[in-house]
Symmetry: C2
Subunit: 176 residues, 2 copies
């Protein structure tokens, strides 16, 4: 951030009065520009014991497999964000269930939330950010080609929990 988005003057990086951390501040109009973590929402879509994964068409981790997920937008709920991302990346309409994993990743200022989801019919296709979308049984999961640690964590937990038939919400903090 170099300029004030409100008035266009250069900003300074300094601690505002009464605050205790540096913010981008405009000494011309007085605006303080807070920056906060962003939410990634997605699903773990299941059809007849199989999991829907997407092969990424874009960076980061292009070519690797992921669960459908992406940045939550203004004006939606976390569940709506998870369903929208599943549609955009896998052209799949899911029934979003319970929150399954919530992962804080402080070094990249993200909180990722993955929901369990039912894929009522095996209908899906690659959206613009995927090159390939397919169902995997547990034995077929491409563990060495998963895009992110949050994805492999969620899948490992899911297969463990499936043996017990209970899927509690898992709270994970990923530190560097």
């Amino acid at each position: 951030m170099n300029f004030c988005s409100q008035c266009g003057h250069p900003v300074a990086h300094q601690i505002p009065p009464g605050d205790d951390r540096q913010r981008y501040m405009c000494n011309h109009c007085g605006a303080i520009h807070y920056q906060n973590p962003r939410i990634i929402a997605g699903t773990l879509p299941v059809w007849q014991q199989q999991i829907l994964l997407c092969r990424r068409a874009i960076a980061p981790r292009q070519g690797y497999w992921t669960l459908p997920a992406g940045f939550m937008e203004n004006g939606e709920t976390t569940r709506q964000a998870a369903a929208r991302e599943t549609w955009e990346e896998a052209l799949a309409r899911v029934e979003v269930g319970e929150l399954y994993t919530i992962t804080s990743i402080p070094h990249i200022n993200q909180v990722q939330m993955l929901y369990l989801a039912e894929l009522p019919h095996p209908e899906y296709a690659a959206g613009p950010e995927s090159t390939e979308v397919r169902l995997f049984s547990e034995e077929e999961i491409p563990w060495d080609e998963l895009a992110f640690l949050t994805i492999s964590n969620a899948l490992k937990l899911y297969f463990e929990d499936r043996r017990n038939g209970v899927f509690p919400t898992r709270h994970i903090d990923l530190n560097h």
Copy 2:
């Protein structure tokens, strides 16, 4: 948003190529300025069956009672944010437990997360954003003077759940 925070030129509100919603875009340097929901993190601090509430010194809802909570900052986990806000508003050091309520509030672009917390000692005081901090038994809760619906929801659920001794994570969507 009127100006590009990267190069200082005026921004336009338009749909970027390949996108499907309006963003603030700079036609000079090409920057796209995404805006996303923010996370509010806080705690429901308990000491010997009593709940710690803060009377708000600031708008919105000045003078009303709330659980300690505030905007999650970059570089922290949701639990760290909840503990820090509890310190800042109630000068109380808590042991943060399980996620209790997660509430999407799409019309104000927020996701609020409240954690169950143990107050090991009855030590607390008003921080700069509170005029008063005190412990309330269930019978003493000032239901008509609570600041936000998310707070009254969490407290109602808590007292119900306490009768059963189980505190599952509650997922709430607040629509206008």
